[in-house]
C-alpha cells in the first residue's frame, strides 16, 4: 500500500492524531509542541501536494474510508477544485504555524502553548476535512470541528476576545443549524448524503418545495460562515481581538474553505442550471457580493485599528470570490478560484505583518506604523508588496484574479460589478497608501509627533521565525502572480463547472 493511495485519508487522520498526541508531548516537554505541530502540518502540506499531483495526472480521486461503499460508507472525493483548496489550506496552516511561535509566546501564558497547538491542529483537521469530504454531512461535522476550534482560538486573544468569540459562537451556531437543516431536508428527499449521489438524484426533484428550502438553508448557513454581507457582523470583532497568528490563519483560510463549500453546493450538489435558472440564486449572490465589496471597502476606510481594517477588507474580498462565481461564465469562475488562493496569501501576509507590529510595538493602530521603515525594513517591504497586490498592480497576484473577475463581469455585461471591483481597488489604494505614507515618509506624521530618538529608529526586526513566513508570503504574491497562467491552465480550468 503506498502513501499516495492513502493520502486522502491520511490528510485528515494525521493532524487529528497529532493534535491528541500534542497534549502528551506538551505535558512531557512543552517546548516540543511547536516543532511537533509544525512537523505534522508540514506532512499535511506534503500530502496535499501529493494529492494535487495525483489529481492532475489521474483525475478525481474517490477514496472509501474503511472500504465501505457509498452511499453507506464515508467517501472522500477529491477533484481539481478541492485538491487545490487543500493545498492552499495546508500551506497557509503550515506557514502561520511557523510564524506563531514567538507571537504566541508573547501573547499567551507559557502553560497554555501546548493547548494552543492542540486546538490549532484541530482547526487544520477540520478545514482539511471539509475540503476532502465527499458527503454533505461530513462537511457539516468538519465545519463544526473547525468552528469550535476557531471559537476557542479566538477567545484566547485580548481582553475583548471572549465577547467577540461569544458573538461568533452564536452566529456560527445559527449558521451551522441552517446548514444541518439543509442536509436533513435533502436526506428526507433523497435518502442520500453523498455528493455524487445527490447530484444524480436531485435533478428530478428540482421543483420540490423541500429541495428549494434546503437550498435556501444551505446558502444562508454558508453565508454566515463566510461572513458574507450582510451576515458579516461577527467577523470584524472576532478577527480583530484574536491572537495575531490566529487571525492570520482564520482570515486566510476559514472564509476560503467556506467559499469552497458554497461552490460545491451550488455547482456540484445542485447543477449550475438549478442555481441560476430554477432559483435566481446567482443573481442574489451577485448583488449581495456587490454590496459586500462596496460596503466592506467603505467601512474599512473608517477604521483606525489595522486588524479591524483588514477584517473589513476581508469582507470585501469574500465579496470578490462570490461575485466571480455568480457571473456564470468561465472567466469569472476562474477569477474566483484564483482569488481564493491569492487572497489567502495576501491576507495572511497582511495579518502576519499586523502581528509583527503588535509584537514590536504592542499595539496595532495605524499610527503605530509611523517610522517603521527604519525599524523593520524587511517586514515593511513585505507589507508594501502585499499592499500593492491588494490594490491590484501587476505583476503581483492580486492583479490577475481581479483581471479575470472584471473580464468575467464585462463578458456577463454586468457593468456595475466591474465598477464595484475597480472601486474597491481605488479604496484599497487609499487605505494602503495612507499607511505606507506613515511608514516611509516623515512629513505625514503631523504636528506633535516627537522626533524619534536614536534607539527608536535603529534596526529592530522581528525574530526570524516570524520574518521568514512573512517573506515567504510576500515573495509568494509575486511568484503566484507570474505563474497565474500556469496555475489556471493546469488546475483551475478543470474546476470550472460544465456549461460555463
Amino acid at each position: 500500500m503506498n502513501i499516495t493511495d492513502q493520502a486522502p485519508g491520511l490528510i485528515i487522520v494525521l493532524p487529528l492524531i497529532a493534535s491528541l498526541l500534542n497534549i502528551m508531548v506538551g505535558s512531557w516537554r512543552r517546548a516540543f509542541c511547536y516543532p511537533f505541530a509544525v512537523a505534522a502540518l508540514g506532512a499535511c502540506a506534503a500530502l496535499s501536494v501529493n494529492i494535487l499531483y495525483a489529481v492532475i495526472n489521474n483525475g478525481a480521486i474517490h477514496y472509501r474510508l474503511g472500504g465501505w461503499e457509498p452511499p453507506w460508507g464515508i467517501e472522500l472525493m477529491i477533484d481539481h477544485l478541492n485538491a487545490f483548496i487543500a493545498v492552499v489550506v495546508s500551506f497557509m496552516s503550515l506557514i502561520v504555524a511557523v510564524y506563531s511561535k514567538k507571537s504566541i509566546e508573547q501573547e499567551l501564558p507559557a502553560d497554555k502553548t501546548s493547548y494552543f497547538y492542540t486546538i490549532y491542529l484541530l482547526l487544520a483537521t477540520g478545514m482539511l476535512g471539509i475540503t476532502v469530504s465527499g458527503d454533505v454531512f461530513n462537511i457539516f461535522v468538519f465545519l463544526e470541528i473547525t468552528a469550535l476550534a476557531g471559537y476557542a482560538l479566538i477567545a484566547i486573544g485580548d481582553d475583548r476576545a471572549p465577547l467577540a468569540s461569544f458573538n461568533y459562537v452564536i452566529m456560527g451556531t445559527i449558521g451551522a443549524c441552517f446548514y444541518l437543516l439543509g442536509v436533513g431536508y435533502l436526506y428526507i428527499m433523497t435518502g442520500s448524503l453523498n455528493i455524487a449521489d445527490l447530484s444524480r438524484l436531485l435533478p428530478d426533484l428540482y421543483h420540490s418545495k423541500v429541495v428549494l428550502v434546503a437550498f435556501a438553508f444551505f446558502m444562508v448557513g454558508i453565508a454566515i460562515k463566510i461572513a458574507f454581507f450582510p451576515l458579516h457582523i461577527w467577523l470584524p470583532d472576532a478577527y480583530t481581538h484574536a491572537p495575531s497568528s490566529v487571525s492570520a490563519l482564520v482570515a486566510s483560510t476559514m472564509t476560503k474553505v467556506g467559499a469552497y463549500v458554497m461552490l460545491r453546493i451550488t455547482f456540484t450538489v445542485f447543477e449550475p442550471y438549478f442555481s441560476s435558472e430554477v432559483v435566481p440564486m446567482t443573481a442574489i449572490l451577485g448583488w449581495s457580493a456587490f454590496a459586500a465589496i462596496i460596503f466592506g471597502s467603505i467601512l474599512a476606510v473608517g477604521q483606525t485599528d489595522f486588524k479591524r481594517m483588514l477584517s473589513y477588507i476581508l469582507i470585501a474580498e469574500v465579496g470578490y470570490i462570490v461575485l466571480g462565481v455568480s457571473l456564470g461564465n468561465r472567466q469569472g469562475f476562474t477569477g474566483s478560484v484564483l482569488h481564493i488562493l491569492n487572497d489567502a496569501v495576501m491576507i495572511a501576509c497582511l495579518f502576519m505583518v499586523a502581528g509583527a507590529v503588535v509584537y514590536k510595538r504592542g499595539a496595532r493602530n495605524l499610527n503605530d506604523f509611523i517610522g517603521l521603515n527604519k525599524k523593520m525594513p524587511v517586514t515593511m517591504a513585505a507589507f508594501s508588496v502585499a499592499a500593492v497586490s491588494m490594490i491590484g498592480v501587476p505583476p503581483t497576484a492580486g492583479f490577475f484574479s481581479k483581471w479575470y473577475l472584471i473580464l468575467g463581469s464585462l463578458q456577463a455585461e454586468k457593468w456595475a460589478f466591474a465598477a464595484a471591483l475597480l472601486f474597491s481597488s481605488l479604496i484599497n489604494a487609499v487605505l494602503f497608501f495612507r499607511i505606507l505614507e506613515k511608514v516611509y515618509l516623515k512629513g505625514s506624521r503631523g504636528q506633535g509627533f516627537k522626533e524619534s530618538s536614536e534607539e527608536e529608529t535603529s534596526f529592530d526586526e522581528v525574530p526570524l521565525s516570524m520574518l521568514i513566513p512573512i517573506l515567504v508570503t510576500a515573495v509568494g504574491i509575486i511568484i503566484l502572480g507570474l505563474y497565474s497562467g500556469r496555475i489556471i491552465s493546469s488546475i483551475i480550468q478543470f474546476t470550472v463547472p460544465e456549461g460555463f
Partner: protein, 497 residues
C-alpha cells in the same frame, strides 16, 4: 518587415535595475562609488539603446517575450521605430541629468540621496519598459511602476507640503489609471480579443461605434500622465520634487510616457482609419487645443518659476497629442518630433531653474531681475530653451510646430492654425519677460547678502552648468540636424499609413 529575436530591450531595462541594487548596497558609505553606478548604468543603457538604432533604421523589428503569464497577458517587448525614438531620448537625457543630479543634490546637501538615485534608476527602467512594450498589458505594468517609483521622488523633502503634493500626484496618476485606463484595457481585451499593438489598430470590424468611443474616452481619461485638462493638476503639484526630478521625469520621462501611450493608443490600438471614421481624432485635437491655450493662460499668472514651467509643460504636451490627433502624415510627424524637441527645451529650462535655486535660493520670477549678469551661462541656456518653446527658428521647437501647422492645413482644420498662433504669442508672453528682466533690469538690492558677490559671477557648480549648456546646445542643434529622429519619425509614418 523583418523581425528578429533579441534580448537587448530586456537588457536596456535590466541595467538600471541592477544599478538599483548596487546603489543600495553602496548606500551612504561611499557617495562617489554610488554615483558611479548611476552614471555607469546611464551610459550602458544609452549604449544598448543606441546599438539597436541601426537595425530599426534598416526596417527591422526586435522582439523578445520575457514571460507569458496567461492568454493576453504576457510581458513582451518589441523595439520598433517609435519605441526606439522614445527610449533613445530618455536614456540620452538620463546621462546628462545624472551628472546634473549629482551637482544639485550635493550642493543642497539633500537628504536620502540613496533612495533618490535608486528611485530614479527604477523610473528609467520602467520608462524603457513602456517604450519597448509590445502590448497594452506590458505598457500598463510599467506605467504603474513609474507612478509608484516616482512617488518617493515627489515626496522627497518629506515636508507636509511635499507630502500634500505627492498625495495629489498619486491620487491622480494611480486613481485614474486604475479607474479608467485599466477599464479601457479590459474592454479592449474583451472586444478585440488581444492587447498586442498593431500598426493598423486591433479593432477592425469589432465592437460597436459607441463602445469604441467609450473605450477611447476611457483611455484618454486614464492616461493622466499626458496631463491633458482636466486631469493636469498633478503636474504643478509634483513641482515640490527636487529640480532634477522635475527636469527629467516631469518634463521628459513620466509625462512623455503619458503622451507616448496616447500615441500608441491612437496609432497602434485604434489606428488612423478607425479614428477617422469615428471622428474621434478631430474631437481629441480640439480637446488638446483647449489644454494648449488654457494652460498657457494659467502659466502667465504663475510667479513661481517651476510652476510656470509646469503649466508650460501641460500646454506643450498637448501639442504632441494635437499633432497625432489630426491624423495626417505631417501632423503626426510634427507631434512625434515634438516629443524630442520639447524634451530638450524643457529640460534646459528646468535645469536652469534648479541652477538658479542652487546659486541664489531664488524660486520666484520677480526675484530674477538682473540675474543674467551673475549667471550668464545659465540664463543664456534659459533663453535658448525659452526660444525653443516659443518656436522661433533656428531652434528645435520650430520644426514640430511647423509640421503640425502643415498637418492642420492638410486636415482642413483652419482653427488649429489660430490655436498655434495664439499659443505662440502666449508662450512669448510668459517667457520673454523673464529673459528681459534677467538681462536688462537692475538687480534688486539684497539686504541680507552684501555686495561682495554683486559684480562677479556666481554660477552654480560646473556639474550643473555643463549639463544645462549641453541640453541648450542640443535644442539648437536639433534644428539643423534632426537627423536620426526625423528618420525614425518617417519610418513610424510609413508603417501606420
Amino acid at each position: 518587415m523583418e523581425t528578429l529575436i533579441s534580448i537587448k530591450p530586456v537588457l536596456a531595462i535590466a541595467v538600471s535595475l541592477a544599478a538599483v541594487l548596487l546603489i543600495y548596497l553602496t548606500g551612504e558609505r561611499s557617495k562617489n562609488l554610488r554615483e558611479t553606478w548611476t552614471i555607469l548604468a546611464a551610459v550602458t543603457k544609452f549604449t544598448i539603446v543606441a546599438s539597436m538604432v541601426p537595425s530599426v533604421l534598416n526596417g527591422k523589428i526586435l522582439e523578445y517575450t520575457l514571460i507569458s503569464i496567461a492568454p493576453g497577458l504576457s510581458i513582451q517587448f518589441k523595439v520598433d521605430a517609435i519605441g526606439i525614438f522614445f527610449a533613445a531620448l530618455a536614456s540620452f537625457l538620463w546621462i546628462i541629468t545624472s551628472v546634473y543630479s549629482i551637482g544639485y543634490m550635493r550642493s543642497l546637501n539633500e537628504r536620502a540621496q540613496t533612495r533618490y538615485f535608486a528611485c530614479f534608476a527604477i523610473a528609467l527602467s520602467a520608462t524603457m519598459g513602456v517604450a519597448f512594450s509590445a502590448n497594452m498589458f506590458t505598457t500598463f505594468l510599467f506605467y504603474e511602476i513609474i507612478t509608484l517609483c516616482t512617488f518617493p521622488l515627489v515626496a522627497h523633502k518629506e515636508t507636509p507640503e511635499a507630502i500634500k503634493g505627492a498625495r495629489r500626484y498619486l491620487t491622480y496618476l494611480l486613481g485614474t489609471s486604475v479607474a479608467f485606463q485599466l477599464t479601457a484595457v479590459l474592454l479592449t481585451y474583451n472586444t478585440a480579443g488581444t492587447l498586442d499593438f498593431s500598426n493598423q489598430g486591433i479593432f477592425a470590424g469589432k465592437g460597436s461605434d459607441l463602445l469604441l468611443t467609450i473605450i477611447f474616452v476611457l483611455y484618454m481619461a486614464g492616461i493622466t500622465k499626458a496631463a491633458m485638462m482636466p486631469f493636469h493638476s498633478w503636474l504643478p503639484a509634483a513641482m515640490v520634487a527636487p529640480t532634477p526630478v522635475s527636469a527629467l521625469l516631469h518634463a521628459v520621462a513620466v509625462v512623455k510616457t503619458g503622451v507616448f501611450v496616447v500615441v500608441k493608443v491612437v496609432l497602434h490600438i485604434f489606428g488612423i482609419d478607425l479614428l477617422q471614421k469615428l471622428g474621434l481624432g478631430t474631437a481629441l485635437a480640439y480637446f488638446a487645443s483647449f489644454t494648449i491655450i488654457v494652460a498657457s493662460i494659467i502659466a502667465l499668472k504663475q510667479d513661481n518659476l517651476k510652476r510656470r514651467l509646469a503649466y508650460s509643460t501641460v500646454s506643450q504636451l498637448s501639442y504632441v497629442i494635437l499633432g497625432v490627433a489630426l491624423l495626417t502624415p505631417s501632423a503626426i510627424t510634427g507631434g512625434i518630433m515634438h516629443i524630442v524637441l520639447h524634451a530638450f527645451g524643457k529640460i534646459t529650462l528646468f535645469f536652469t531653474a534648479g541652477s538658479i535655486y542652487v546659486a541664489t535660493h531664488k524660486t520666484e520670477i520677480n526675484q530674477l531681475d538682473g540675474i543674467g549678469r551673475k549667471m550668464p551661462f545659465t540664463m543664456t541656456a534659459f533663453t535658448l530653451g525659452a526660444l525653443s518653446m516659443i518656436a522661433i527658428p533656428p531652434l528645435g521647437g520650430f520644426i514640430s510646430k511647423w509640421y503640425i501647422g502643415i498637418g492642420a492645413l492638410e486636415a482642413g482644420q483652419l482653427p488649429i492654425i489660430l490655436v498655434l498662433v495664439a499659443s505662440t504669442i502666449l508662450n512669448a508672453c510668459y517667457f520673454i519677460p523673464i529673459v528681459y528682466s534677467a538681462f536688462f533690469k537692475e538687480p534688486i538690492k539684497d539686504h541680507e547678502h552684501h555686495d561682495e558677490k554683486h559684480n562677479g559671477l556666481s554660477e552654480s557648480p560646473a556639474m550643473m552648468v555643463v549639463p544645462l549648456m549641453l541640453t541648450a546646445i542640443g535644442a539648437l542643434a536639433l534644428f539643423f540636424y534632426p537627423g536620426v529622429f526625423i528618420e525614425l519619425a518617417r519610418i513610424i509614418m510609413a508603417t501606420v499609413t
